[in-house]
Structure formats: C-alpha cells, structure tokens
Symmetry: C3
C-alpha cells in the first residue's frame, strides 16, 4: 500500500508540503500461512513502513517496524503469535475510528491515545465465542527481558450485525505506569455510521510526576453520499485532570472517493485546538502535520491518493 498527499498546513508557519501516509501508512509486506492439518496453521507477517515522499523507512527506521511475528493458529483454540505486533488496545482503537488512525482522527494527532506496536510480545487471540464475542491478550517479555520495557494489553469485542463494542486495556512499565482503559462502539445505520469512544488515561507520558492523567472522548460519522464517495466527520477531545493548559480538541471534515476497490482519492480538512501547554499537530497515519509550538493551533488541508497492492 502506498499513500501520498499534498498538504497545505498552518501552524507556527504556513505552507505546502508533500507527505506519505495520510489515510494509511505506506507499506510493503509479506504474509503467509501453512496448513498443518487438524485446523492448525503456521502464520507469519513481515511488514515494512515506507516514507514514500523520501524513500526512507518509517517507525524510527526499524525496517520490519510495522509488524514482524510468527505463530500457530487454530480455528478451535485460537492463535498464539510472538514478535513485534499490534497491541490488542490498538485493534480496539482502529476498529472504532472512522479515519482508521489516519489523518483527521485523534489517534494520528495524539489527541486520543493508543500504543500501536509492542516488541518481544506474545499474543493469544481467542477463538470466536457464540459468533459475536472475540478478543485477545498480549504480554511483552521486555527487550532482552528488561522490566522497564514490558507491557500488557487485552481487548474484548462484541460484533453483531450493525453493532460493535470494544473494551480495551493497556499497561506499560514506564517509570509511572501508563494505563489506558477504553470503551468504544459503533453502529451502522446505513445512511450514517456513528462511532463513539471514551478513554481513561493514567500517566500519558509515563514520566515521573508529569501530572498527565486525562479523559478522552471522540465522536465520528461516516456518511455514504454516492456509490463511491463517503463524507467523514469527526471530533475528539482530551481533558486533563490535575493540570491546566493540557486540554486539546480536534475536529475534522473529509471526503474519500473510491476509484476502485484498491485505489481512492481523499480530501480532508482537520484542525487541532491546543491548550496553552500542548503542541499537538494534525498528523497522518505516518505523515507529519505543520509544526506548532505550545498553545498554537494547527490546521491542515490534505489532498491524497491511496493505492493498495
């Protein structure tokens, strides 16, 4: 998948830029499975993140930084996988974000919070229960077994017809333990799909005495306006507790137009209202928004093309 976009951004400065990874992070990967008989399979994924504007590797230059894992999967017993994997909390987040953690959504601007990937992790994915319940639990052994890099996450989801609901938890062994607890759901009314989410965040940065607990909420809508066009609306808010100037808001209006099942164009306008002590900007899935200093608002108008292969 490649996704490039032209962005007119306004932050501390104003101007045009070309970025990669608006709706989705540009990537190239290898995935496979081998049927071992008795409903058991060996499964693996390797995925490289690409900055298509400059040719560099995203995820801080970690080559297989998007995903790298191997495991065994059984229809009856679930799947056990190990490596660098998305956290269960991330799966709950992306399932309840109209923008799919891409430009316009809170997970891209960090107004809402998730932990995308966890190294050295073992994940157990539950088999589907009664056709509607699913979930997964993850434990990271830490890098070389180091306690400070360990993490734990779990996700329980309900999906039936047009309704979906996710309960997710994540904890990281940062100096003050980062803890995320979220409840989010969606309902597809056909004329509009609504998404709403709530999250309690303890120790957002994990730094000692940072006074960075907060509540996050988001509300989004996707409105099909033609066979190939969808209007996307969203609003997100982070409300700090025990600190002033750390609240932030974001609102977004966009339009996505499918040229085929694999290729679409998009135009998205999004704005982040920063508190006096925050400097969030309108990021994409991996692309950068306009730079801002604390208290300055960020806006971006993006025009992009995304192509899956």
């Amino acid at each position: 998948l490649l996704d490039v976009y032209v962005q007119h951004g306004k932050g501390t400065a104003t101007g045009w830029a070309l970025q990669s990874g608006g709706q989705s992070g540009s990537r190239l990967g290898v995935r496979g499975s081998e049927d071992l008989g008795g409903g058991l399979s060996a499964v693996f994924t390797l995925e490289n993140g690409i900055a298509a504007d400059t040719g560099t590797v995203t995820q801080g230059g970690v080559f297989w930084g998007r995903q790298a894992f191997l495991g065994l999967s059984s229809k009856e017993w679930g799947a056990l996988t190990a490596g660098r994997q998305y956290s269960p909390h991330f799966f709950a987040s992306v399932a309840n974000d109209i923008f799919g953690t891409g430009v316009g959504g809170g997970f891209a601007s960090f107004v809402t919070t998730t932990v995308f990937r966890v190294d050295n992790s073992v994940t157990y994915e539950l088999p589907k229960i009664a056709g509607v319940l699913g979930g997964s639990v993850m434990q990271s052994a830490g890098e070389g077994g180091a306690a400070g890099t360990k993490a734990t996450s779990a996700h329980l989801r309900y999906a039936s017809g047009p309704a979906g609901l996710s309960l997710a938890y994540l904890q990281r062994n940062t100096v003050e333990k980062q803890k995320l607890l979220s409840l989010a759901g969606s309902y597809d009314f056909k004329v509009v799909k609504l998404v709403a989410g709530w999250q309690d965040v303890k120790n957002l940065t994990g730094a000692l005495g940072a006074a960075d607990d907060r509540r996050e909420v988001w509300l989004q809508a996707a409105i099909p306006v033609s066979a190939s066009g969808t209007v996307q609306l969203g609003a997100a808010q982070a409300k700090a507790s025990g600190a002033t100037g750390k609240d932030a808001k974001q609102w977004t209006a966009g339009y996505s137009h499918a040229l085929s099942k694999r290729t679409n164009l998009y135009a998205i306008y999004t704005q982040v209202d920063n508190g006096t002590a925050t400097n969030y900007t309108t990021g994409g899935a991996t692309g950068a928004g306009p730079a801002v200093t604390a208290g300055v608002d960020a806006t971006a108008l993006t025009f992009g093309v995304r192509h899956s292969f």
Copy 2:
C-alpha cells in the same frame, strides 16, 4: 538487477577491489499498475539500491532510495506522480549517455553533472505529442515544505526513428541556486550510434562564492561488432569559467558482451584527468573508483557481470 565488478584502479594508490554497480546500480524493486478504467491507471514504483559487494544499502542508506512514488497515469492526459523520483534532467541525461550513467561515463565520475533523484517531488509527464514530442516537469515541495530543499526541473524531448534530441533544465534552491541547462542528442547510423551533449552549469556546488560555473561537453559512440558485442567509446570535458585548475577530462574505451537479454559481461577502461583543484575519480553507477587527491589522475580497468531479474 545485480552488477558486480572487479576493478584494477590507479589513483593516489594502486590496487584491486571488488565493487557493486558498474554499468548499473544493483537494485531490487516492486512496480505495479492498476487499470482504473477510461484509460486511467494507478501506478507505483519502490526500488531499493544494493551494494552487492557488502550487502549494505546504497543512496546513503535510504532504503527505498532509488525510487519511491505513487500516481495516476492516463494515456490521453499524461501522468501525475508524487514521491522520491528521478528528475526530468536525469531522464534527459541517461537517454544521452552511451554508458547509461554507469562506469566510463561523465555522469558517474561527475565530470558531467545531473541530479538523479528529488525527494518530495510532484512530476507531470506530458502525453506524447504528434508521436515524436514528449517531456515532463517536476516541482519539489521541499522536505516538510522547507525552501532550501526545493527544486524544479523540466525536460523536452524529440524522438523520431534514429534521431533523438533532449533539452533539459534543473534548478535547486541551494545557497547560490544551482542551475543546469543541457542540450544533447543522438543519432543511430546502425554501424555506430553517436551521442553528443552540451551543458551550462551555474553554481555546481551551490556554495556561496564558490566560483564553480562551468561548461560541459561530451561525445560518445557505440559500435556493434557482433550480434552480442558492442564497443563503447566516450570523452567528456568540464571547463570552468572564472576559476583555474577546475577543468577536468575523461575518456573511456569499453566492450560489453551479452550472454542473454538479461545478462552481460563488460570490460571498461576509463581515465579521468584532473585539474590541479579537482579530484574526480572513475566511479561506476554506484561503485567507487580509486581514491585521488586534487590534481591526481584516476584510471580504472573494470571487469564485470550484470544480471537483470
């Protein structure tokens, strides 16, 4: 494509070395297109440069450093692509270089000048006009929109039967703006293909007050001597204006032998005569020539194999 060669080089020191990328830079890539109907396609290219002698990544370690772009292409309206791409000036240069910017040619030794790749660039390729005229224009948005990394380039070409002609321009926002204007052409007489080029260079390095304007000329010939063998001859010269000791010359004689459509052997002798203030060496497409200090001439005799896959 992989290309490795043994080189006996003489510069400041003399000796044998193994190098990668003689005639062509070793590479591995992914390319694709999707038919979107109505003559429109989504097109993309990702290409990694490889130092096959050591396993490292070329282009300064930028993984997809050869090419990384995505765009839409129409037979009727041309193509619009964005990412890290070859400049129009490069396309004009490689089309008028018997050595294909590989070992023996001036673009590999830097006796003649082009700009290979431009980050954050948007290129519009014109549809073919009257069956003989083509061209493209490129604008780079600069890294994160930064003015100092912006660049502009254009290329107009005429191709009819055995004759080809290219007019190309490139400008980069270096401290003193680098400007390249070239006119080059080729004619295939069957018994010999001749190539000649001329280029005016303003601010070669772009550094302030560097007194590095110059004129470049090159003359090359490819002589088919058998069904699978071609003799290649070339000469190039850079003549500085407003500075002494900055002139340089190169001459080359080589032989390329096709083992198949995908595999060939080559033997190329090339020599660079440096001015008292230049230290150009006989590079390959990505391979290094013998090290020289200013004023020392460089010679290289290379034996290589190139294989496309």
Copy 3:
C-alpha cells in the same frame, strides 16, 4: 524463514525473554538463476536477516547482511561468484554441526569458531569430482581494496553415502593473522547420526599479543525417536594454549519436532561453563543468550517455533 523462541536464561541474572533466530536466523530473501545455454547459468542471492522479536535488521543492521552475491555457474566448470558470501570454512562448519550453527551448538556460543560471511569476496566452487569430492576457495579483495580486511578460505569435502568429511581453512588479515584449520566428519548409522570435529585456532581475536591460540573439539549426536521427532545431543570444548582461564565447555540436550516439512517446534537446554577469563553465553543462530560476566556460567532453556517460507 522465521524462528522465534521463548528463553528462560540464567547468567548474571535470571529471567524470561523472547528472542528471534534459535535454530536458524530469521530471514527473507530472493534467489534466482537464468539458463544461459551450454550448461552455464547466471545465479544470484540476496538475503535479509530479521530480528522477528523487534522488527530490526540483524547482522549489525546491514540490510542484505546474510548474503548478497552474483555469479556464473557451470555444471562442468564450477561456479564463480562475487559479493558478500558465506566463507568456505563456514560451509564446512555448518555441515558438521547437528545444531546447524543454531542454539545449542558451539558456533552459536562461540565455544567453537568460524567466520560466517566475508565482504568483497570472490568464490570459486569446484565441480563435483568423481561424485564424492567437492570444495571451494574464496579470496576477499578487502573493503575498497584495503589490506586489513582481506581474507582467504578453502574447503575440501568428501561425501559418500552415510559418511562425510570436511577439511577447511580460513585466514584473516587481522593485526595478528587469524588462522582456522578444521577437520570434521559425520556418519549416519540411521539409529543415530554422529558428528565429530577438531579445530586449531591461531589468534582467535586477531589482536596483538592476545595469547589466544586454542584447540577446539566437538562431539554431537542426532537420534530420530519418531517419524517427526529428533533428540539432539552435543558437547564442545575450547582449550587455550599459553593462557589460563580461557578454557570453556558447552553441553546441550534438545528435542526438535516437525509439524510439517516447513514448520517445527523445538525445546533445547544448553549450558556453557566459562573459564575465569571467558564470558561465552548460550546464543542462538542470531538470538542472544543470558548476559554473563567473565567466569559466570550461562544456561538457557528455549522453546521455539521455526517456519520456512
């Protein structure tokens, strides 16, 4: 191929960790050949080493660090290849190691010694002689022709029915020249395959006056216990000459269970007894064992899954 394992290690500290590359280094590659007629082929290999626990690149971050070479191969005349390649000494070592240079074997813990890969190398592989004799010779040109990075290696092997024998040599131009001379063989009795090896090492580290000559021996057995299960046993010893406290021993017991031809599970227990001046640990093919300081013994119990693709 991906290989991940959970390790309970005891060294200076004790604990669990997740590692990549137990029995084999995780990897992804491209290999190809083109028939050029007359028994001649163009052949190439590119192989990337993967740390599947974190997504990073192994071999010190050199992307195509496992293998990167191109050459010509003839059934009658042998093969000539150039690039970054395994040394002939390595091929002799891996052919005589039940653990395949993976976890449990001396080549993984460095109790026994080989040189895996050599940059800038040209290898000539002999055609098979009389159906039983083979071998190869390798010479590295050094990086950019630099003398200090040159190396030479050769391997002569005999293989007939259940019996195999390898004689191998390697020399590196380190400050004091590192020289390895090994004689190793195997015999497959069907109920058990036995492997024994002996090696003389001059200047193990290559450092000036390091007093690091030594003799290495190893003895291993593979016992098929079912259609899909194999018990693996091994012992290795390094005995220093001219220095005290530099002797080390390793012993291993493991079990490998095939789920298919491409996928297997394994459980391996291995222990390294360090001398007062050595700090070897129980490594895997690329995975790390528990950290130890000089004189501390290392033990590891690993449970892993390996999947070829």
